[in-house]
């Protein structure tokens, strides 16, 4: 029986929490990550797997690479911590207040290249982590805001497959909506 030594990742806050049950998540490229079960359950997908009693050894996540998975875990840890603190002075961690330190952390978290951002979106979708999905989608929306369609195409390398006639037709059809 292997002794379960106190993991070094246990923060000071978590000393109060005796239940440091762990799960292991395995990325598509074979890397294993051991995390607190409570952190892993930020993902509804993983939560259901655990609750259904299917998580014996490792939970394989064939849709998520190790690079992305480590970031996702970082996000879940940070947000679980913040929820755990629950001091009266700390407002809800979903608030948009810029004075909220979690918001600042989130902003830094999504300062990544487009490839990584879209991989995070897909991972958050697959793992069903609402906060992360909203954060990443909102980031993309912010990149689109205030831009003309042509500028948006350039930012995201979208090919304009309209013929000039088709484009004129679509604009004419929708003109009323913009009047």
């Amino acid at each position: 029986m292997a002794s379960s030594s106190t993991s070094v990742v246990v923060s000071n806050k978590e000393k109060e929490n005796k239940n440091t049950k762990k799960v292991t998540l395995k990325s598509s490229d074979g890397e294993s990550f051991e995390v607190d079960e409570s952190v892993a359950m930020e993902s509804q997908t993983i939560k259901h797997i655990i609750e259904d009693g299917c998580a014996n050894n490792e939970i394989p996540l064939p849709n998520v690479t190790s690079g992305i998975l480590s970031r996702v875990i970082e996000y879940c840890k940070k947000h679980k911590e913040a929820a755990g603190e629950s001091e009266p002075s700390v407002t809800s961690y979903t608030s948009n207040s810029t004075t909220n330190p979690l918001t600042e952390w989130d902003t830094e978290f999504v300062k990544v290249d487009q490839n990584t951002l879209f991989d995070l979106i897909l991972a958050a979708n697959y793992l069903d982590i609402k906060g992360l999905l909203d954060l990443t989608c909102k980031t993309v929306a912010d990149m689109m805001k205030g831009k003309t369609p042509q500028e948006i195409r350039e930012t995201f390398h979208i090919k304009n497959d309209y013929t000039p006639e088709e484009e004129a037709e679509v604009r004419k059809e929708n003109q009323w909506a913009f009047e």
């Binding site: 290249d113 487009q114 979106i121 995201f156 979208i158 309209y162």
Partner: protein, 419 residues
């Protein structure tokens, strides 16, 4: 550093794109449909339903209630409702941001559109009622191609819209007379391109904007309303040759205080006027400009009587002006002029120069024949050697030069252009 040239965004699943779009401001969310055909397909899901004419009201109500303005792709924004005999009539309803609804009617086969009269009764709900913030309500309504088979269904649907502020009726073939029974909330009415319309009766108390394009119909307005924005594009002429009836006169009163106007010269010609008495005021020296301009609208004038009465009322002038009477009264506030469609360049240049002399401020004059190629007026400084003592007189030292600038930067279009 590998350069990313792949379009990863468009390859995301529909629900995710929908979620991203839900974070965009609602006015610009629909613009994503211009990005590519894949994005357009997100917006084009249509809910298809069949039902009776009577059930159309309920179908539309439910459709509107289910729409989620904050997440516009969650539910279809289009409803295609088939009704009537053999389900031949199709109502296509489309929702857009800012409480807009577009309803277009069509019949399966191209039948001759029977002429019909339409009495459209709007909702007389009191002004104190406020819409509930949770459900979608219609503020702006576009009705296109309403025909004799669909007018009843449309009337019932429209009478439910108690918060309607703006109504636009376009391309209704066969519509012969239109009577709009209005509510105090209706502020804006637009009627475009209804080719058989002979008679228009408007009952409204607070109408602020009226836009009409087509043949001039018989206009009857109950209650004088003071328009801020009037577009009277009657360039196609009167709908019947008995124009000149007194029915048009009240409408002239309604536009006197407008801030934005479109007018056709022919509607203001006093082509029967033979005898005119013009009473004018003169504060310091008489200025005949207004009279001369008016006379140009009186092609049949035979006798003219002009009385200058210093005690006669004159509109107070809001800007200060020089005590010296100018020979020609100036246009103090004119800043921008756009000339479109002049076929004779000489005429165009003459008018432009004339306006320059009338303006007080530095005037920007843009001319274009086709709307694409722009020219702006510039002063030409001609250096001429002094040949002799007599000064060579130039008729004008201005010319139009081609502009390569962006059309939008140079000159904004009139509010009624491009409608």
């Amino acid at each position: 550093m590998e350069e990313n040239t792949l379009d990863l965004l468009s390859s995301l699943p529909d629900e995710i794109l929908g979620r991203i779009i839900s974070f965009l401001p609602s006015e610009s969310a629909l613009q994503t449909s211009f990005l590519s055909t894949r994005w357009a397909s997100l917006w084009n899901t249509v809910l298809v339903q069949h039902g009776t004419t009577e059930a159309a009201v309920t179908a539309i109500s439910e459709f509107l209630t289910h729409f989620d303005e904050l997440n516009p792709l969650r539910q279809p924004r289009r409803l295609q409702y088939h009704f009537g005999k053999g389900s031949a009539n199709i109502l296509l309803a489309t929702i857009a941001a800012n409480n807009k609804l577009h309803m277009e009617l069509s019949t399966g086969k191209q039948e001759f559109q029977k002429q019909f009269d339409w009495q459209l009764g709007l909702n007389h709900q009191s002004l104190t009622d406020q819409p509930s913030s949770s459900s979608f309500f219609v503020k702006t309504l576009f009705l296109k191609s309403v025909g004799f088979q669909s007018k009843e269904a449309v009337s019932s649907i429209v009478s439910n819209f108690q918060f309607l502020e703006s109504l636009k009726i376009i391309e209704c073939n066969g519509l012969q007379t239109l009577e709009i029974d209005s509510s105090p909330r209706l502020k804006s009415l637009t009627i475009f391109d209804c080719p058989q319309l002979k008679s228009l009766f408007i009952r409204s108390l607070k109408l602020r904007s009226f836009r009409y394009r087509g043949l001039l119909p018989r206009l009857l307005t109950e209650n004088h309303f003071n328009l801020k924005d009037a577009m009277l594009d009657f360039r196609q002429g009167p709908c019947d040759n008995s124009f000149g009836s007194n029915d048009f006169d009240p409408s002239l009163l309604t536009i006197k205080n407008a801030e934005i106007l479109t007018l056709c010269k022919w509607t203001f010609e006093f082509y029967r006027l033979k005898e005119l008495w013009w009473i004018d005021n003169s504060s310091e020296g008489y200025n005949s400009d207004a009279l001369i301009s008016f006379l140009k609208l009186c092609p049949a004038l035979e006798q003219l009587f002009v009385t200058v009465d210093t005690k006669s009322y004159s509109m107070p002038i809001t800007t200060t002006y020089s005590k010296k009477v100018a020979r020609h009264s100036k246009l103090e506030h004119l800043k921008v002029v756009k000339l479109v469609g002049f076929t004779n360049e000489e005429d165009e240049l003459l008018l432009a120069v004339h306006l320059t002399k009338l303006a007080v401020k530095e005037l920007l004059i843009i001319a274009t024949a086709d709307g694409i190629c722009l020219r702006s007026l510039v002063k030409v400084h001609l250096y001429q050697p002094k040949l002799n003592q007599t000064h060579v007189k130039y008729t004008h030292n201005y010319k139009f030069v081609e502009e390569n600038g962006d059309i939008n930067e140079l000159c904004v279009n009139h509010a009624h252009m491009g409608l």
